[in-house]
C-alpha cells in the first residue's frame, strides 16, 4: 500500500500512509486508538475507498473498490467482532455464499466433508457439523481463519484476535499463524499487546494520528522505543504506584460460588490496597465479582464488610455497602452511547440531584465536571455523546460514574481493555491516587505486566477456584501462569 490518503468529513483519517507486507511474514500494526489502523485495514479490505494512493499485490497494481474485489485479490480480514451466523453449522459458515451445489441443491455432504478436511489440515479439534453458536470464542475465531484460508487468501488481516481468548488458546492461534506463514501467507496483525510482538511478529509498523511513523524489525527494537513511537513522547513512568502499608481488612469473602463458573473463592481486601485477580479467560473471576455485587441470584458463600456479615442480594445492596463495579465489556455493559457524557456520568447518583419531582441541574453539572476534571477526561462539552469519545475516555466516564457513588471498594474488571497506551498510563495513575486516599481496588486483568506492576497482592483463579495468592514481592509471570494453568 502506497501513500494511502482517506478523508472523512472534517477529519483526515489517513495521511500518506504506506505499508509493505512480505510473503510469509507476520507484520504487526501498532498505534493508539484512533491512530488509523482500522481505517487502513478497511481500505485494504474494500470497505472504504481511499481518495489517494495505490495498492500493489505481487508487484501488480490492483484496484480494490469493494469487499468482493478484495476477496478476489486474495485479501481476507478477520474482524475483532466475529461475523459468523450462530444458528448455522461450521461448514455452512465456511461456505456461506459459495455452497457446493449438485444441480439446484446445496450438496451438504460435500460441504461438510470439505470443511472437515480444512479444519483437520490445521489440526483444529472442531467438527464441521457443529453449530457455531455452541463453540467457544476461540473456536469461532479458528472457524473464521479457516474460512479466510478457504478463499486461498495470500494476505490475512487479524484485528486484535487475542483480545477475548485465553493464553492457552493464544498459543494455538500463534501455532496456526506460523503454519500459515510457512505456506507463504502474509499476515497483518493488529494488537494492543506489546508482549505478543516478540512471540509472533517479524516486523512492526507504527501509526499515529493517521500518519505513518515508522517500520522496525521486531528483533531490533524494544517496547520503550515502540511506545515512544506510538505516543510521540517518552513514557517514563508507564505504571504509577506508590506502595503504602495497607490498613485493616474491609472486605472478606468466603467460599463464594455461583454453582457454575465460580466454584469456591475465598479472599480478603484491605484498606488502601490494590488486589489483582489473574487467571485465564473463563476462570470465573468476573463471575465471583458479579456475586459480590449482587448480580447473581442465589449464589453461595459469605461476605463480611468491616468484619460484619452482610447480605448482598442486589446491586443496590452492594452500593449501600460502598461497593462499585466497573464491568468488563464497556460497550455492552456500561455505556449509553447515544446519551451525553453528563447522562452517563450521573445515572448512578440521580438521587443526589433529583428529589421527588424537583431537579437541581446545577448540581448535576457540578458532579459531572468534578469527575471530568479528576480523571482528565477529554470531551469538548458535557453534552457530547459518549459514543463519540475514544475508548480511553469512555472508560474514564464509566470509572467516574462509579466514583460518583463514593465507593470504598472499587471493582475494576479489565479496566484497560481497548484503551490506548496513553490513557492506560493515566488510568494507572488514577488508581494509585484512589488507593492512597484509602479506597480499596479489586482489579481483574488478563494483562500480566499490568496486574504485576499495579497489585499489592494477586489472587490467581483456575476453573472457578482460587489456586493461590501471591505477594507482590514473590510474583512473576511464571508463578502466575503456573497457578492459572495448573
Amino acid at each position: 500500500m502506497k501513500k494511502i490518503t482517506k478523508r472523512f468529513p472534517g477529519v483526515l483519517a489517513l495521511n500518506d500512509v504506506s505499508l509493505t507486507l512480505k510473503a510469509g511474514e507476520v507484520h504487526a500494526l501498532l498505534g493508539e486508538n484512533g491512530a488509523g489502523k482500522s481505517t487502513l485495514i478497511k481500505v485494504l479490505g474494500g470497505i472504504y475507498i481511499a481518495e489517494e494512493g495505490e495498492i500493489y499485490i505481487e508487484g501488480q497494481k490492483v484496484t480494490i473498490d469493494g469487499v468482493k474485489a478484495a476477496q478476489e485479490n486474495g485479501i481476507a480480514i478477520i474482524h475483532q467482532e466475529l461475523v459468523l451466523v450462530p444458528h448455522m453449522t461450521v461448514a455452512e459458515n465456511i461456505f456461506l455464499g459459495r455452497e457446493p451445489m449438485s444441480g439446484h441443491f446445496v450438496n451438504s455432504k460435500k460441504m461438510t466433508e470439505d470443511a472437515q478436511q480444512l479444519l483437520d489440515a490445521y489440526h483444529m479439534n472442531i467438527k464441521a457439523d457443529m453449530l457455531v453458536g455452541k463453540l467457544t470464542i476461540a473456536q469461532q475465531q479458528m472457524v473464521e481463519i479457516v474460512k479466510a484460508i478457504s478463499f486461498n487468501s495470500k494476505i490475512l488481516v487479524m484485528d486484535e484476535p487475542t483480545s477475548s481468548i485465553s493464553d492457552k488458546e493464544v498459543e494455538f492461534l500463534f501455532a496456526t499463524m506460523r503454519n500459515l506463514t510457512a505456506k507463504g501467507v502474509g499476515i497483518i496483525y493488529i494488537s494492543h499487546k506489546m508482549s505478543e510482538l516478540e512471540q509472533i511478529c517479524d516486523r512492526v509498523t507504527v501509526m499515529r494520528d493517521g500518519e505513518y511513523v515508522g517500520t522496525k524489525v521486531v528483533k531490533e527494537t524494544n517496547k520503550d522505543e515502540l511506545i515512544a513511537m506510538m505516543v510521540g513522547r517518552e513514557l517514563t513512568n508507564y505504571y504509577t504506584r506508590d506502595f503504602l502499608e495497607p490498613g485493616e481488612v474491609v472486605l472478606q469473602c468466603s467460599h463464594i460460588s455461583d454453582g457454575h463458573m465460580a466454584k469456591d473463592a475465598s479472599f480478603e481486601v484491605r484498606k488502601g490496597e490494590i488486589v489483582g485477580f489473574a487467571g485465564l479467560v473463563g476462570a470465573g473471576r468476573s463471575e465471583v465479582m458479579k456475586c459480590i455485587f449482587g448480580l447473581t441470584k442465589g449464589y453461595k458463600g459469605e461476605i463480611y464488610i468491616d468484619g460484619k456479615k452482610v447480605e448482598i442480594k442486589s446491586p443496590i445492596d452492594a452500593m449501600k455497602y460502598g461497593i462499585a463495579l466497573v464491568p468488563e465489556d464497556r460497550k455492552q455493559e456500561a455505556l449509553y452511547k447515544i446519551q451525553s457524557v453528563r447522562y452517563n456520568s450521573t445515572i448512578e447518583v440521580l438521587g443526589s440531584f433529583i428529589k421527588g419531582i424537583f431537579v437541581d441541574n446545577a448540581k448535576e453539572e457540578e458532579i459531572t465536571q468534578r469527575y471530568i476534571d479528576m480523571l482528565s477526561t477529554k470531551t469538548p462539552t458535557q453534552d457530547q455523546l459518549v459514543g463519540n469519545l475514544s475508548g480511553g475516555n469512555q472508560q474514564k466516564v464509566v470509572i467516574g460514574r462509579w466514583l460518583a457513588t463514593d465507593p470504598r471498594i472499587l471493582i475494576l474488571d479489565e479496566p484497560t481493555r481497548g484503551v490506548d497506551v496513553g490513557a492506560k498510563s493515566e488510568i494507572y495513575a488514577i488508581m494509585n491516587e484512589l488507593v492512597k486516599k484509602g479506597m480499596s481496588i479489586i482489579m481483574i486483568s488478563s494483562e500480566l505486566p499490568e496486574i504485576i506492576n499495579m497489585s499489592d497482592r494477586i489472587y490467581v483463579m483456575n476453573e472457578g477456584n482460587i489456586t493461590g495468592c501471591l505477594d507482590r514481592h514473590e510474583v512473576s509471570q511464571e508463578s502466575i501462569m503456573k497457578l492459572a494453568a495448573n
Partner: protein
C-alpha cells in the same frame, strides 16, 4: 466544518421543515381552507387521541423500540364500558374513574407479561388487540351506545359546548379568554427559555448561538399566537386542548426530569448496562405499559365524549397513528431516542395530513396509502441520517 453544522441543524429541524411544507401543500390544494379557524379547531379536537396515545407510545418505544398494538382496542373497551355505565345512570365521575381503572388494569395485564414473563411486547399487545376488541363488542352488545351525560361531554370535549367559556370578553365573535391564554403562554415560554439560557451561561456552559435561539423563539411564539387568534375567532379553547396540554406538560417533565424518565432512556440505550447498575429494569418496562394503558383509557374518554357515543369499531387503527407520530417525531425504532416535543411535531404532522386529505375529499383508502408512505419516509430519513453519521 461549517457545512456539517448546517447539515446537523437541518436534520434537527427536518420534521418542522417537513411540517411547513405539508401545511403549505394543503393550503394550496384546499384553497386555504385548511387554515380556517374551524379547521384548526377540528385539527386539535379530532386528533386529540393521537397526541395522548403517541405520548404513551413514546415511553414504550423509548424502552427499546417496543410498541403497543392494543391501544386502539383499549380506547374502544374503556370508552365502551364508560358509555354503558353512564347509560345505566351511573354518576359521571364514577364512570370516568371506572374507565381509567380499566386502562390501568389493561396496562398491568400487558406490563406483567412483558416485564416479568418476557413475552415479546409485539405478541403480548397483539393478543390484547384482539382480546379487548372482543370484550368491547361484548360490553356494547355489538351496538352503538349513545352518551347523554352533559357534564361528561362538556368536560371531555364533545358536543356543541366543549369550549372553555369566555370569562373576560363579551364579544360574540371574538373569544378574549383564548387570546389572553395564548399571550400568557407565549410570555411563560419566553421567560422559561431565557431563564434556562441565563442559567447555563452563568455556569460557564456552552450555549446555542443566540440568533438561532431567537429565531426558534420567534417562530414558536408566532405559531402559538396565531393559533390562539384563529381559535378566538371560532369558539375559543376546545376543552380537548386542555387535556392534550396537560398530558404533554406532565410527560415532557416526566421524561426529562424524573428518575423514571432517565431509566426509560437507559433501558432503551443499553439494557444490560442498566441492569448492571442495579436499576430494576423490569419495573421500567412495567411502568411504560401500565402508563400506556392509563393514557389509552384517557384517549378512550376523549374519543367517546367527542362522538357522544361508543361503537364497537371505535379506535381502529389508532395504534398506527400513535406509532407513526412517534417515529415521524424522531423516536428511534431501536429505543433510547425520542422526545415529547418531537412527538408533538409528529402528531401535528399526522393530524394535518389526516385533516388536509379529508378536506380535499380524498378517498379514505388512498388516505391510508399516503399515511403509510409518510411513516416509511420518516423512518428511512432516520435510518439514512444515522448511517451518514457513522
Amino acid at each position: 466544518m461549517e457545512k456539517n453544522k448546517t447539515l446537523a441543524s437541518l436534520q434537527k429541524y427536518a420534521m418542522i421543515i417537513a411540517l411547513i411544507i405539508v401545511v403549505a401543500f394543503f393550503y394550496w390544494k384546499t384553497g386555504g381552507k385548511i387554515l380556517l379557524p374551524q379547521n384548526i379547531n377540528n385539527l386539535i379536537s379530532q386528533n386529540a387521541y393521537v397526541f395522548i396515545l403517541a405520548t404513551g407510545m413514546l415511553l414504550c418505544i423509548l424502552t427499546g423500540g417496543n410498541i403497543d398494538l392494543s391501544v386502539g382496542s383499549v380506547v374502544c373497551f374503556a370508552g365502551g364500558v364508560g358509555a354503558s355505565l353512564m347509560d345505566k345512570g351511573v354518576n359521571t365521575w364514577v364512570a370516568v374513574l371506572a374507565m381509567l381503572g380499566i386502562g390501568l388494569l389493561v396496562g398491568i395485564w400487558h406490563g406483567f407479561w412483558i416485564a416479568y414473563v418476557k413475552v415479546p411486547p409485539f405478541i403480548a399487545t397483539l393478543a390484547g388487540m384482539y382480546a379487548f376488541r372482543g370484550l368491547s363488542n361484548v360490553v356494547l352488545g355489538g351496538m352503538t351506545v349513545s352518551i347523554d351525560d352533559e357534564t361528561f361531554i362538556n368536560v371531555f370535549g364533545g358536543g356543541a359546548n366543549c369550549y372553555v367559556p369566555d370569562l373576560i370578553g363579551n364579544s360574540e365573535t371574538f373569544n378574549m379568554t383564548c387570546m389572553v391564554a395564548g399571550i400568557v403562554a407565549v410570555v411563560l415560554f419566553i421567560g422559561l427559555q431565557m431563564k434556562s439560557r441565563i442559567n447555563s451561561k452563568r455556569r460557564g456552559y456552552e450555549t446555542e448561538a443566540f440568533t438561532g435561539v431567537l429565531v426558534k423563539m420567534i417562530i414558536i411564539s408566532a405559531v402559538i399566537l396565531w393559533a390562539a387568534f384563529k381559535l378566538s375567532n371560532y369558539k375559543g379553547i376546545p376543552t380537548a386542548l386542555i387535556w392534550i396540554l396537560l398530558v404533554l406538560l406532565i410527560y415532557g417533565y416526566v421524561t426529562t426530569k424524573t428518575r423514571m424518565g432517565r431509566y426509560l432512556y437507559a433501558v432503551g440505550g443499553n439494557e444490560k448496562a442498566t441492569r448492571l447498575s442495579g436499576i430494576n429494569t423490569k419495573s421500567v418496562y412495567f411502568f411504560a405499559y401500565v402508563n400506556m394503558g392509563l393514557l389509552a383509557a384517557l384517549a378512550g374518554i376523549l374519543t367517546v365524549a367527542r362522538a357522544t357515543s361508543a361503537q364497537p369499531t371505535y379506535g381502529q387503527g389508532y395504534e398506527m397513528d400513535a406509532i407513526g407520530a412517534c417515529f415521524i417525531g424522531g423516536a428511534s425504532a431501536y429505543g433510547g431516542i425520542g422526545t415529547v416535543p418531537g412527538v408533538v411535531v409528529g402528531a401535528i404532522l399526522m393530524g394535518v395530513i389526516n385533516q388536509g386529505m379529508s378536506i380535499m375529499g380524498m378517498d379514505a383508502n388512498y388516505q391510508k396509502v399516503v399515511k403509510g408512505l409518510v411513516l416509511l419516509i420518516a423512518v428511512i430519513f432516520d435510518v439514512v441520517t444515522k448511517k451518514e453519521k457513522k
